[in-house]
């Protein structure tokens, strides 16, 4: 039963994919040419045939597949600052996300622990968290650029600030809602503060903390694209923006696809890690 369901779901997925590609192909069919008044600059950008309607300016599925193949064949080339392989651009973005994310975890988890353990700090810090949490991370960018004076570090800072809140809030919540019975067990066994923190509270709160970490990595990967469009230089966000300036839609679609795949991989990795610390009551 289960395998047949998997099979049917797979077939349906293929069907949806085929329908999508078909619709795309149909939408990019060449239209009847309206030869004559074509802006020569526009023609120079999108190729003469496209400008005259003999070919759609939007690439067909086959065009995109060819572009994608081209990128995958040689992902790590470097031909000057503005022409680097898509693999290198993704690596830059991933590097920024990982550094910012790890810094955020290093701050959020201990701080969240502290907040969760003490109702006083919970109450005292709550208004700050509530105000800072809904701020778009990109709003920090000018401030970061002004104070840090380095665009690369500013991007990392933006990732840091956007990953911070979900991890902080989930850690505090997880620690604050550890079951009273488990704390009573620790109390009657006269367990010391450190053993209690690491052997009772941390494992009890771990699934909630992991949920926060999973939300954070998702947000960080969303934000890095926008941040790199702003700061420029390297990264997959910059690549997308650069290709927009080149009006190379095939490259943009390729990048979008790769962004999705990397995001999915990050999420799966954290889901796997979450399973390691999960427990059943």
């Amino acid at each position: 039963m289960a395998s047949s369901l998997t099979l049917r779901a797979g077939l349906l997925s293929l069907l949806i994919f085929a329908a999508f590609i078909g619709a795309w192909q149909w939408a990019t069919l060449p239209t009847a040419g309206v030869a004559g008044n074509v802006d020569p600059e526009y023609a120079a950008l999108v190729s003469g045939a496209a400008a005259q309607g003999a070919k759609s300016a939007f690439p067909t599925p086959a065009d995109v597949a060819a572009t994608l193949w081209g990128h995958l064949k040689d992902p790590f080339y470097v031909r000057g600052a503005n022409d680097q392989g898509v693999g290198i651009q993704l690596a830059y973005s991933l590097g920024r996300v990982i550094v910012g994310y790890l810094l955020a975890a290093a701050v959020a988890i201990p701080l969240g622990f502290l907040i969760g353990m003490s109702p006083l700090t919970y109450r005292a810090l709550d208004p700050f968290i509530q105000i800072l949490k809904p701020i778009s991370p990109l709003a920090w960018m000018p401030l970061a650029l002004y104070t840090i004076k380095d665009s690369g570090i500013s991007a990392i800072f933006v990732i840091f600030i956007c990953s911070l809140w979900p991890m902080l809030i989930n850690t505090a919540f997880g620690v604050a809602s550890v079951r009273k019975e488990w704390l009573n067990v620790a109390a009657t066994l006269e367990v010391g503060a450190f053993r209690k923190a690491f052997l009772v509270i941390l494992p009890a709160a771990a699934p909630t903390i992991m949920t926060g970490m999973r939300i954070s990595i998702g947000i960080a990967w969303l934000v890095i694209v926008a941040a790199e469009m702003l700061v420029g230089g390297t990264g997959i966000g910059y690549f997308v923006w650069n290709e927009w300036n080149n009006l190379s839609i095939g490259n943009i679609i390729t990048a979008i696809l790769l962004i999705g795949l990397v995001g999915m991989a990050l999420d799966l990795a954290l889901a796997r890690a979450a399973r390691l610390v999960a427990y059943r009551e």
Binding site: N184, A187, P203, Y279, R280, E281
Partner: protein, 293 residues
């Protein structure tokens, strides 16, 4: 009773502030000595503060006034000398059976090596008949097995006293019966001092040497168990003293607990020495006047 008790509950009281001023008294002026090696059961209706008393004894809750003396010292908080078996099993779900017990043992004996702790835990796993399930997680165990782990964890730290809060109430009747018998065997073999809370008369009759009957007021009556010490759940109902005892307990809980205050009115009632009753088939001269209903 000339021997100094292991535990002495003295003038214990607990009051909660009432909404809109004033106070609600849960219990007050409660006195109870517990001798070493004794099994004492506390029976009372819900709301009479049974669990609060146990939590105070465990050090998890503070009384409004009065004190608990253990071994000549007033208790100030939880201690490894007083192990608690909780109503819900309270096992840590991310640890194995052995891990849960070892966590307790290594808290008690931080100087022990891993192997010593392990060997010690294994003895208690065997004692509660859980051999073969050492490496299972609590979620893989049945309710009865979980409670056995709780018992093993409490016994493994070799406490001076065992506190049990309705430990078998969440189990089905069959499991409960066999576990009660096992608990009795273990406690007798190890000479463990036990204070247990229950609302099950048969459980109290099987396990306890003395049964404390609580009213919802401050008064209490203490019943001595006349049944032979080697009683078994399967055969104790044939004993001549079984029904007198059972009827006495039942009557107290059903009717006398409400009228107890008026019953003893006019008579001198010393909360330090509540009436002690020993319901037997043959009326003994031991039975004090207060018990003749």
């Amino acid at each position: 009773m000339t021997e100094k008790p292991l535990i002495s509950i003295e003038a214990l009281a607990r009051r909660y502030p009432k909404r809109g001023g004033g106070e609600t008294t849960v219990f007050e002026d409660l006195w109870l000595p517990i001798q070493k090696g004794e099994f004492v059961c506390l029976i009372g209706h819900s709301g009479c503060g049974k669990t609060t008393i146990l939590n105070v004894l465990a050090g998890l809750d503070q009384p409004s006034s009065g004190s608990v003396i253990v071994d000549g010292r007033e208790i100030s908080g939880p201690s490894l000398d007083r192990a608690v078996i909780f109503q819900g099993h309270s096992l840590l779900p991310w640890m194995t059976v052995l891990g849960n017990i070892a966590f307790a043992v290594s808290s008690r004996r931080p100087e022990w090596s891993r192997e010593t702790v392990r060997a010690h835990c294994q003895r208690y796993v065997d004692l509660v008949h859980l051999s073969g399930s050492e490496h299972k997680k609590p979620s893989e165990l049945s309710g009865g097995m979980k409670q056995r782990v709780g018992i093993a964890r409490a016994l493994a730290i070799e406490p001076k006293m065992l506190l049990m809060d309705e430990p078998f109430s969440a189990l089905d009747a069959l499991t409960r019966g066999s576990l009660q018998e096992e608990a009795r065997r273990i406690c007798r073999e190890t000479g463990q001092t036990v204070f247990m809370i229950t609302h099950d008369i048969d459980e109290a009759m099987l396990l306890a040497d003395r049964i404390v009957l609580m009213t919802n007021g401050p008064q209490a009556e203490i019943v001595e168990n006349p049944l032979p010490r080697d009683r078994l759940a399967a055969s104790m109902h044939r004993h001549a003293d079984y029904y007198p005892l059972r009827n006495h307990l039942l009557e107290f809980l059903v009717t006398r607990s409400k009228s107890f205050a008026s019953e003893i009115e006019g008579r001198p009632y010393d909360p330090r020495k509540p009436a002690v009753v020993r319901p037997c088939a043959v009326a003994e001269d031991k039975v004090p006047a207060a018990a003749s209903v």
